[in-house]
Amino acid sequence: MELITEGIKKAFILIFTGDREIFEIMLLTIRVSGISVIISMILGIPAGLIAGLNNFKGKKFVISIINTGMGLPPVAAGLFVSLILWRSGPLGFLNIIYTPAAMIIAQILIASPIIAGVTLAAVQQINPKLKYQAMSLGANRWQVLWILIREAKLPTLAAIMAGFGGVISEVGAVMMVGGNIKGQTRVLTTATVQMVRMGNFDIAIALVIILLFLTFAVNLVLTLIQQKENITWAQRFWR
């Protein structure tokens, strides 16, 4: 019991005294997961929209691929990225294995199918005639896309939350491609694993508290955006 209470006490001390190492791990985590989610949004949301809103040959196949991607085991993503970026691998010349860049690539592989899949499910709930209504009002391709994203706003934000949740909590893939190098590729999850292994429970608890707080903060912001109804978005176009 003492292990836990002492651990929590020390954890708070570490957090509030601004322990340099913990602070750096936190910043790297935010950077890697943040960039991953943003790139995954850029890839996943349009992919979900396009697959969901258009009828084309092989649509069912594409949807199956996306759905499979949603359940992709992170270690599989990690292995795949490792193989590609390994010194003798096809992209080995880039020399980015065991760097944050490699971690970002692995996380994109995990998050973008999640974001695409949830977006896809969301836009399929939209009345397909709304697309024609938008076109009929004179919207070009991008305006139609934008209008429909707004229409699927609630579930699309849920997609981003799911994607973020997927990457920030991920440990297997980032461990594999990042190598958990202290001061370079050590993030909250891999550091926690390391600290528990070493018996440094106080630091592990501090790391997990920060991880939970980050997850909560990001989801809180997204929820607030999601629940804010009636944003006056037509007025945006007026000066």
Partner: protein, 377 residues
């Protein structure tokens, strides 16, 4: 004749279901309301989507505002910006009523300040003043459609497409909105194509009418032409000329001809089977005789009123018959009469009582020659 805002030439669109839309020719005139009328599934909405460039025709030309728009090298978005459409569903977006009304303007990058007067006019006419901040989901079907109409009308389109905009609305709101819409359209002088399956609506709104059935235009013409002079059986039935009789011209002179009506069954009444109509078909032509039920007047055979007798002798075709059925049909009652052939008339309950009509009663049915329309069988 005004100038043509839209022409459709040899347009063909085939669907996997086997349905084929094939319009040889049709046009809409500037600042007039063309009503496209036909039963469900006749291809009306398909035609609207083709005009709105939401679907691609297999072949044929659509000429809008003097320019061919059906080719593949056309900037569809810029054409759509000159047209606006309202569909059967209001199709409002998840934002306030105000933003929904302005959505088309913002898409077209127009300034609200340039449309202030028209905005004020429309929200007043469409009774939307108090609803601007509401979420469309909290509005009734009729109110939602008012928003959709405002959104389309404020764009000041060169051509307005209205695809059964009143079809999903309850009757009271529908009549109110129809009156408001009619008022706006007449006021603003818009070139409009209005789709409906309701002939009353066509009667109220149309300048011109195109009757469409199974993907083809059955008849195109002014409202009066189509309603008074249907060209075939389908159009006659569809525009409400419920009495359709077969006959053969036996005599023709000075635009008046006598037609012998084909008997339906063995005649049990001593009846006149010759009808006079205004037409110049030649003798021996086989024709269909179309009579609108409201043009048939019924007379009580026992009435001794001299004026009525004179009226009957002078300018009416008269038939002796027996009432075989009287049914409720909305505010009117539908009366079926056997004159050797079946005819239908409508009358108010009051008038039926005054004339002393009942099933089995012998009566005289009269129709003026100029209320009878003939077309070739």
């Amino acid at each position: 004749m005004g100038s043509k805002i839209l022409e459709i030439i040899k347009l063909v669109k085939k669907y996997e279901s086997g349905f084929v839309l094939k319009i040889d020719y049709m046009h809409a005139e500037e600042n007039k309301i063309l009503v496209l009328i036909g039963p469900n599934g006749s291809g009306k909405s398909t035609l609207i989507r083709l005009i709105n460039l939401l679907e691609k025709p297999d072949s044929g030309n659509i000429i809008f505002d003097g320019k061919q728009i059906s080719g593949s090298d056309i900037d569809k978005v810029s054409i759509r910006k000159k047209i606006s459409a309202v569909f059967q569903e209001p199709l409002l977006f998840r934002t306030s009523v105000y933003n929904n009304i302005l959505l088309g303007l913002s898409i077209r990058r127009q300034k609200l300040s340039d449309f202030k007067d028209s905005f004020d006019f429309l929200i007043k006419k469409l009774k939307l003043q108090k609803l601007l901040n509401r979420n469309p989901r909290s509005l009734s079907g009729g109110e939602q459609q008012r928003v959709a109409l405002a959104r389309a009308l404020i764009l000041n389109p060169k051509l307005l497409l209205l695809d059964e905009p009143l079809a999903n609305i309850d009757q009271i709101s529908r009549e109110e909105l129809r009156a408001d819409l009619f008022d706006i359209l007449k006021n603003m002088g818009r070139s409009t194509i209005y789709v409906t399956h309701d002939r009353n609506e066509a009667m109220i709104l149309a300048d011109d009418i195109a009757v469409i059935n199974e993907g083809r235009i059955e008849q195109y013409g002014s409202k009066n032409e189509v309603f008074r002079k249907p060209e075939n059986e389908f159009v006659a039935k569809f525009v409400g000329a419920e009495n359709l009789l077969e006959g053969k011209i036996i005599e023709s002179s000075n635009n008046v001809c006598k037609v012998k009506i084909k008997k339906k069954k063995d005649e049990h009444l001593d009846n006149n089977l010759i009808i006079s109509a205004i037409s110049n078909y030649l003798p021996e032509t086989r024709v269909m005789i179309a009579i609108r039920p409201e043009d048939i007047a019924l007379y009580n055979i026992e009435m001794q009123n001299i004026e009525i007798r004179n009226e009957l002798i002078t300018d009416k075709n008269t038939f002796h018959g027996i009432i075989t059925d009287i049914q409720d049909s909305g505010i009117f009652k539908k009366i079926e009469i056997d004159c050797g052939f079946k005819i239908i008339s409508y009358d108010t309950p009051n008038s039926i009582e005054r004339l002393g009509l009942f099933i089995g009663k012998k009566i005289i049915a009269g129709v003026k020659a100029d209320s009878i329309h003939l077309f070739k069988k």
